[in-house]
């Protein structure tokens, strides 16, 4: 121990070194800064109120699956095939009614982990502060959840987004009733709001906060939902439809709802980005109707085939080997050069900042009112007028403004065309455009024209085909889904596998709410 003290230099040096070391360590070493250090400065640690409109914007954009990936995984690979707007030239099994779990999870994921949490943030954050903003967010909530419920039937709804790890499913009926209530109170709030207010401003990517437009939108959505339940709950349907119409639905093409993605190239139109891809080609069903009716929208919806400059569709539900047979006309399989793509002039990667994403067209409301009138409801007019107005609006919307052309189309007596495809498909149906006299044909005509007008919204088109059976579609050539024969159409998405894995008990319990086995052939509540 003596050594320690016999020379003062080492003691001083040692002391200096320890002091220096401790100085470095103590100057930087203070764990009280850890909390701040572990906070990401590139994100919001507390959310400013100004962030809420940005949350609505995202929920609107993703709510129509605007992102290319999202668009493909719900629209292109499922509903746009099952509505038979398109057929798949890439041989995807989903065109044969196979529900690929890797794909459908994307829709589920977007709905529950992006759209609803974003909207919930807005709804909670505007409650009692901005009733109009709150009402608009709730209208959009109905929009995203009605699609989601139509896919599956029962869905987690009332308890969704609360952070709990077992989330019960709610019956479709209870969910629909909440839609009606929500829309009713939202419209009431908006009607009592000064129309000069523009909640969310331009962050509302649909109407820029135009309250009058949102009232029309809410009523049109309410009318859509009313007809959806018209077979299972006619009384509610009638009452909701009449309330919606008297409250004011969308009337002109100026009322059309689009998500405007034109201002920022980074939120693009997903359909534009994937239009040049392999798979989506005009369906044979579209071809038969459009050609048979000499429908001027054919050139608006689709591009002529590369091979011969003509329009050619493809039957849905082809096995890969059939696809090869159907598409080999001296050209390569992958190009499908003998088939019509979506209209690449309107939808291509360079127009993704020009072409807006469609939400609801006004034409639909006229067809809904026409069907309501047939049901004997007070829709403020008669079926034939609504039918013709719907056709007129739709044609005008796609640039066919010549009145004679519109009149000629409306009075057309030609019927869908037989096809010269490799299956020699006969005409898909036998009704003309000209409004018939018997209510049964009229109903089919209304729904057929609505289907044509809904393009490219395969989600809504598929829902209505399921509900009404119209328009008549070609049966799929092949079904790889053992539960759905080719003679039927696919009725719903089965509950996602991931839910069985992670929310098993609730998903099992949902089967009894569904009222049938968890199969793609089981009809949802409004489709009874």
């Amino acid at each position: 121990m003596k050594l320690f003290f016999e020379n003062r230099l080492p003691v001083r040096l040692m002391a200096a070194m320890i002091f220096f070391g401790l100085l470095i360590i103590s100057s930087t070493g203070c764990t009280k800064k850890f909390d701040q250090l572990n906070t990401d400065p590139t994100s919001f640690s507390t959310l400013p109120p100004a962030a809420l409109p940005k949350a609505l914007a995202r929920a609107q954009y993703e709510g129509v699956y605007g992102d290319p990936g999202g668009y493909e995984l719900i629209h292109s690979l499922f509903t746009d095939l099952w509505s038979q707007f398109f057929a798949d030239a890439g041989g995807s099994a989903s065109d044969r009614y196979v529900i690929n779990q890797d794909w459908i999870i994307s829709q589920w994921n977007l709905t529950y982990t992006v759209n609803w949490p974003s909207l919930k943030l807005v709804i909670d954050g505007t409650e009692g502060i901005s009733p109009a903003a709150n009402a608009i967010a709730k209208i959009w909530k109905v929009y995203i959840f009605h699609q989601n419920s139509d896919f599956y039937g029962p869905i987690p709804y009332f308890q969704a987004g609360l952070g709990t790890l077992s989330i019960p499913y709610d019956s479709q009926e209870s969910v629909y009733m909440d839609f009606f209530n929500t829309l009713d109170s939202a419209v009431t709030v908006l009607k009592n709001t000064d129309p000069a207010q523009t909640p969310f401003g331009t962050d509302d990517m649909i109407y820029h906060g135009d309250i009058t437009q949102w009232i029309k939108f809410a009523n049109s959505l309410r009318l859509r939902l009313a007809l959806r339940v018209s077979e299972v709950d006619p009384a509610t349907a009638k009452q909701q439809a009449e309330t919606a119409v008297s409250g004011g639905v969308m009337l002109t093409n100026d009322d059309n709802a689009f998500v405007d993605v034109t201002s920022n190239p980074n939120s693009s139109n997903g359909l534009c980005d994937e239009a040049p891809w392999q798979n989506m080609r005009m369906s044979a069903t579209m071809e038969s109707y459009l050609k048979g009716y000499n429908d001027p929208r054919m050139q608006q919806y689709f591009s002529p085939a590369d091979l011969d400059g003509q329009f050619h569709g493809l039957r849905n539900g082809l096995a890969p080997a059939d696809v090869t047979s159907a598409t080999v006309v001296g050209g390569p399989f992958d190009g499908a050069v003998n088939l019509s793509n979506i209209n690449l002039v309107r939808w291509n990667p360079n127009t993704d900042g020009v072409t807006k994403l469609n939400v609801i067209y006004s034409a639909e409301s006229y067809f809904l009112r026409a069907e309501g009138a047939l049901n004997g409801w007070n829709m403020g007019g008669n079926a034939i007028d609504f039918y013709n107005q719907g056709i007129t609006l739709s044609l005008q919307q796609w640039g066919i403004t010549d009145n004679t052309a519109i009149q000629n189309y409306m009075n057309g007596t030609t019927t869908p065309a037989p096809l010269s495809d490799y299956l020699n498909s006969p005409a898909v149906a036998n009704i003309p455009v000209k409004f018939a006299t018997d209510p049964a044909t009229q109903r089919q005509q209304i729904l057929t024209q609505k289907w044509l007008a809904l393009f490219p919204d395969g989600i809504e088109a598929w829902a209505e085909v399921r509900r009404t059976g119209f328009p008549v579609l070609y049966p799929v050539v092949h079904s790889d889904n053992p539960d759905v024969p080719t003679t039927d159409i696919i009725r719903r998405f089965t509950f996602v596998e991931y839910e069985y894995e992670t929310n098993g008990k609730a998903t099992q319990a949902a089967i009894s709410l569904l009222g049938g086995p968890d199969k793609a052939s089981t009809h949802v509540w409004w489709n009874k």
Binding site: I18, N38, A51, G330, P332, Y498
Partner: protein
């Protein structure tokens, strides 16, 4: 505030606890005083003298030093004593001999022939210093100094000083100390001498650099280690040192991205411990951690098809600067490094300057060439087209038979339709690698300098892939004042990677080159672009008609450019003060700072671009690892039997990461790659920063140099954990005993050591895991708010790894044969995992503490010298490692929480009760007797699309092993390393792609006749007689209804990993030039497979360095390399 003060107090208390711990150990000194009064009771009957001496050695602290030849062979002694003194006993033994002895203070008994006392004429005095590997000097007591040929000897005092009476000034002194090279020092007339003993370099195995840079004798270690010499990693001329380690370390599993020179490797010791986190070991260079953040990290939650390998940290270390690499495979060994050490550590010691023999200069130069080791097997009968016919614009090979018929093809020319069997191979170029380096070492007693410069210049096997690296290294070790040593290191490197290839993505070269039609000529493909005369735009030449899925591989190589430059500085300042002989203090600061700047230029015409004009992306990131520590060491021989080595320290580790990325979002003027030309630029930035503060202590207590007890303790404060849980303490304990020095064993056994250790290591998590972080994306009319989709736990606890290991070390025939066996068992519990949750919760993932993952296994090292002649030597070393992993418990809610949304190829899961790394995939539907069910009408298999139904296997190997044989004949040396990896699977997406495109050999059979799916039955149970066309079949199972099961490969392989032949030129050839040595080596790496169960690719391929292993899609071929290495010493 009060809370924080309490924490500070707790920290202080802990430091005090550690000090008390040190004092307690120190007090052992009081009890362990000498053996001055040793009394011996012996009963020896007619034994030889050697046996008598060995018996005494065992029963007393005395050791004997003698020349075997001196002992009379026939002499027998009989000794019976009771409580006799040592002198008395020895006098009895040597009574009838002509031998005498001297007992030194360190209980060494020197035996020699009788000589006359009056021979003594002079007294020599001097000092002995010990020089360790780092060039640092120290002085010790008990270093033996003997006059050669006599029994006259002494030992040094605590200052290293001695004084000895010798015969005359021409005598030779023999100076020896355990672990140091014994030297014979001729007095040559001097009576005052200063002598330096060097650590025994050639017995590197015996001295090991352990945690915190503490050098220890291997025999004292309580855990397994393995050490590679610098030449083991540098002589193979691998740019990334971990490549050179492959096959040489037990239980080290390496997977490679093969992405050209300097690409990343995934290194795993003793299995995977973490499900979603990094499983790679720590990298420690010269005692401090350097950043080894994976830059090719594809986690199981990531996307396997998008991984650009940006190189890892360890690949930047210049192999030529490495002195040694020690591998601490287990947590026990690394416990002192604290958090993150649970995966083990790679400890790199770099060279320092030396003195003696003037200035040492080494110049080396090497050239290597490389080629793909293995490529898929192709068919060469059917060419471009579909349905058996040629089809212009097809990217498939289902076309007509290639018989040389003239065909108007995609080039617009009519050419013979003939097989191009080498069109894939010819795309790859010979990779080259030139490494030139110079190293200068110089110094004197007070100051040593090492400087090196290495230039590496390579090109990869993919056209336009280049790699350049310049490493500068300066090391200065200075004795700045008495007992005060300053160690400085400055390391700077610039690494420039040009167009590193990208595996697995459609927009890069590999996919197309591997799958292109068999009739395409590589010479045609080389014309990859044209200028469109109408608008003067650049157009890609590609054989498939629009819209293509893929593109011309040369376009990918020359028109989708990517350049990444790394500037890295690693600096170290270490000041060590030797306060007393026993006590020293060291303060150290180190900085590892590097920036990566990359730019991507994608020309307009690349099919996958969604914005016009091409695309330009610049990315800048910086990584800073800043460490400060203070270490106090106390090394003391408490008595002749007990010695103590105490270390205590505090440290701070800080890590900062910043990234800024700008994407041009298209370009206004096509192919003008600068930001001013950006169409819709988006910039994002990200930041990560963590800090860890620690106090730690270790004690190693040795008894009689054969029994060792190790204790360590460390407390970390980790910024990544919630405030209330961010402090955690973890201890380790170990014991080892050298049995052969404790009891008498047969002479053949020269070493028998047993050891056992237990450690507990805590760990934090990544940055910003405990609270929600909503952020904004540039989109819409002024941004989208991105909600946080992760459900955070504000109460996360540290992860814990409990590790136990035990081992046995054996040396036979004077250690000519050696074996080392280790068994280990680790449990990682409270793992911090990100797992999937039901989405209706509002979240996609949840961060939890959960699970218990067990890894246990064995490691075996064998080495031997079957032939050890003067001219010819043959040495063998074998390593073997086996790991068994089991997930004992996982989340309480789910047995198999999904870790990712399913990939097309397979789903990697963590499943309770199974080993981590299991892969599920799509499969055939089979009936109960295992027959494949086919569709009643098409005859094609029914596919089970739900990936959770079919378990394909596990990606981890069952065991790994390697054998190195080295033969030396005079100046020639030949060495061969063969290694084997047994077990594990890998699913090949390439095989699926190639089958679907009709290019692989497997698609050739039955082209024209079709076939019935083998071992199949119709869905309705009737016999399957439906003939399917191969095209329909392979497109169906390879693409449209991908059957992963079909493309599962066994990863078992045996390969010739390394072979080298070297020759060192003899002095008479070099002559009396200034050159001191020349050696020339021919080296080959990864030469060929002796066995490869995977079909057409290297199963050790990885798409990235994350946990997403066992899946492969259009990965880069691994390479065979061969070259020459010339080393000159001046």
């Amino acid at each position: 505030m009060r809370h924080q003060r309490r924490k500070a107090l707790l920290k202080l208390l802990l430091i005090m606890k550690l000090i008390v711990f040190l004092l307690v150990i120190g007090s052992v000194e009081l009890h362990a005083t000498g053996y001055a009064q040793v009394k011996l009771s012996l009963n020896l009957q007619h034994v030889d003298i050697k046996k008598a001496l060995l018996t005494i050695q065992k029963k007393s602290p005395y050791r004997f030093m003698y020349n075997d030849d001196l002992l009379p062979r026939d002499a027998r002694v009989t000794i019976q004593t009771k409580e006799a003194g040592i002198d008395e006993v020895l006098n009895m033994i040597f009574a009838s001999t002509s031998l005498t002895y001297t007992i030194l203070k360190n209980n060494l008994v020197v035996i020699s022939s009788l000589e006359k006392k009056d021979d003594i004429q002079v007294t020599v005095s001097g000092t002995v210093q010990l020089r360790d590997r780092d060039g640092q000097m120290s002085r010790r007591a008990n270093i033996t100094v003997i006059e050669k040929g006599t029994s006259r000897g002494t030992v040094t005092d605590e200052n290293g000083a001695f004084s000895l009476a010798v015969t005359n000034t021409e005598s030779i002194l023999v100076i020896s100390y355990v672990g140091y090279r014994t030297i014979e020092f001729p007095l040559a007339g001097k009576t005052t001498v200063n002598i330096v003993l060097d650590i025994q370099e050639n017995q590197l195995q015996d001295v090991v650099v352990t945690a915190l840079g503490i050098t220890r004798q291997k025999k004292s270690l309580t855990y397994a280690t393995q050490t590679l010499k610098g030449s083991d990693v540098s002589d193979t001329r691998e740019v990334n040192i971990t490549n050179a380690m492959d096959g040489k370390v037990a239980n080290m599993t390496i997977s490679k991205t093969n992405a050209g020179p300097g690409s990343s490797n995934r290194i795993i010791f003793r299995g995977n411990r973490s499900i979603t986190g990094d499983n790679q070991p720590l990298v420690i260079v010269d005692g401090v951690r350097i950043d080894n953040t994976p830059k090719a990290f594809t986690d199981v939650t990531g996307n396997i098809q998008l991984s650009r390998d940006n190189g890892d940290g360890i690949s930047n270390i210049n192999p030529d600067d490495i002195e040694s690499v020690t591998v601490l495979t287990g947590a026990s060994a690394a416990a002192l490094y604290g958090s993150d050490a649970s995966n083990g550590a790679i400890i790199v010691t770099t060279k320092k300057g030396r003195y003696g023999n003037g200035i040492g200069i080494q110049i080396s130069s090497s050239v290597n060439m490389e080629n793909p080791l293995i490529l898929p097997k192709y068919q060469n009968v059917y060419g471009q087209g579909i349905g058996g016919d040629f089809a212009l614009g097809s990217d498939q090979s289902w076309g007509a038979k290639m018989a040389g018929q003239p065909i108007l093809d995609w080039t617009g020319k009519t050419q013979a339709f003939s097989p191009q069997p080498d069109n894939v191979k010819d795309f790859f170029q010979t990779g080259t690698e030139l490494i030139n380096s110079i190293a200068i070492s110089a110094g004197n007693e007070k100051s040593q300098t090492y400087f090196s410069y290495t230039n590496t210049s390579s090109r990869g096997i993919i056209p336009n892939n280049t790699y350049k690296r310049n490493n500068l290294n300066l090391r200065q070790t200075t004795l700045v004042a008495k007992n005060l040593t300053l160690d400085l290191k400055a390391n700077y490197l610039v690494e420039d990677i040009g167009n590193r290839p990208f595996a697995g993505a459609a927009n890069h070269a590999l996919v197309t080159i591997l799958s292109m039609p068999r009739s395409l000529r590589i010479s045609d493909i080389r014309n990859y672009e044209t200028i469109d005369p109408t608008d003067l735009s650049l157009k890609q030449n590609y054989w498939a008609s629009s819209p293509p899925n893929f593109q011309n591989p040369y376009w990918s190589a020359y028109r989708d450019l990517y350049d990444r430059i790394r500037n890295r500085f690693i600096g170290l300042v270490s000041l060590k003060y030797q306060i007393t002989l026993a006590l020293s203090v060291q303060a150290r600061t180190s900085l590892d700072y590097y920036t990566d700047a990359s730019q991507e230029e994608d020309y307009s015409g690349s099919f996958w671009l969604t914005k016009p004009g091409g695309n330009y992306v610049i990315n800048k990131e910086s990584n800073r690892q800043f460490n400060n520590d203070l270490l106090i060491s106390y090394v003391k021989d408490l008595s002749s039997n007990f010695n103590l080595n105490l270390n205590a320290g505090v440290s701070i580790e800080q890590f900062n990461f910043e990234n800024t990325n700008t994407n041009s979002g298209g370009l206004n003027i096509a192919n003008g790659f600068f930001l001013g030309n950006a169409l819709s630029p988006v910039s994002t930035n990200s930041i990560a920063r963590t800090e860890k503060q620690s106090v730690y202590a270790s004690a190693e207590l040795g008894f009689k140099d054969y029994l060792f007890l190790d204790l360590t303790g460390r407390n970390d404060w980790n910024s990544t954990l919630p405030v209330q849980n961010n402090s955690y303490f973890f201890p380790s304990v170990g014991l080892s005993g050298v049995i052969n020095e404790m009891v008498s064993l047969p002479v053949a056994i020269s070493l028998l050591k047993v050891r056992a250790s237990y450690a507990f290591v805590g760990n934090g998590t990544a940055f910003n895991q405990i609270k929600p972080s909503p952020t904004l994306q540039d989109a819409g009319n002024g941004g989208f708010l991105l909600v946080d989709r992760i459900l955070h736990d504000a109460n996360l606890k540290p992860e814990e790894t409990h590790s136990f290991e035990t081992g046995l070390e054996l040396g036979l025939f004077k250690n000519r044969f050696g074996a080392e066996f280790t068994f280990y068992h680790t449990n990682t519990i409270n793992q911090i995992l990100q797992i999937g949750v039901p989405n209706p919760s509002g979240y996609a993932f949840r961060i939890i503490n959960a699970g218990n993952i067990r890894n246990q296994g064995v490691e075996l090292l064998l080495n031997g010298k079957p032939v050890d002649g003067h001219d010819f030597k043959w040495t063998i070393s074998v390593n073997f490692g086996l790991n068994r992993n089991k997930i004992i418990a996982l989340d309480s809610l789910q047995k198999m929480p999904p870790l990712s949304s399913p990939e097309t190829l397979g789903l990697i899961v963590a499943e309770e009760g199974k080993a981590y790394g299991g892969i599920y995939t799509t499969s055939y539907q089979r009936n109960s007797s295992g027959q494949i069910m086919v569709d009643n009408t098409t005859g094609l298999p029914l596919v089970e699309g739900d990936q959770t139904k079919y378990f394909a296997g596990n990606y981890n190997p069952d065991w790994t092993g390697g054998i190195t044989n080295t033969f030396q004949y005079k100046r020639w040396s030949f060495s061969v390393l063969i290694d084997e990896r047994k077990g594990g699977i890998i699913i090949s997406g390439t095989q699926a792609l190639l089958a679907s495109n009709g290019v692989s050999q497997i698609t050739e059979a039955n082209r024209e006749t079709g076939f019935v799916v083998p071992n199949s039955i119709k869905e309705d149970g009737t016999k399957n007689d439906i003939v399917v066309a191969p095209q329909d079949y392979w497109q169906y199972i390879g693409k449209t209804n991908l059957v992963g099961e079909q493309f599962v490969n066994s990863a078992t392989n045996i390969r010739l990993r390394e072979a080298s032949l070297s020759y060192s030129f003899p002095a008479n050839i070099i002559g009396k030039t200034f050159i001191k040595g020349i050696s020339l080596t021919a080296i080959g790496r990864n030469l060929f497979f002796l066995k490869n169960n995977a079909n057409g690719f290297d199963p050790e391929t990885a798409l990235g360095t994350g946990n997403n292993q066992g899946l492969e899609y259009a990965s880069l071929p691994s390479t065979r390399s061969y070259g020459f290495y010339l080393k000159l010493n001046f």
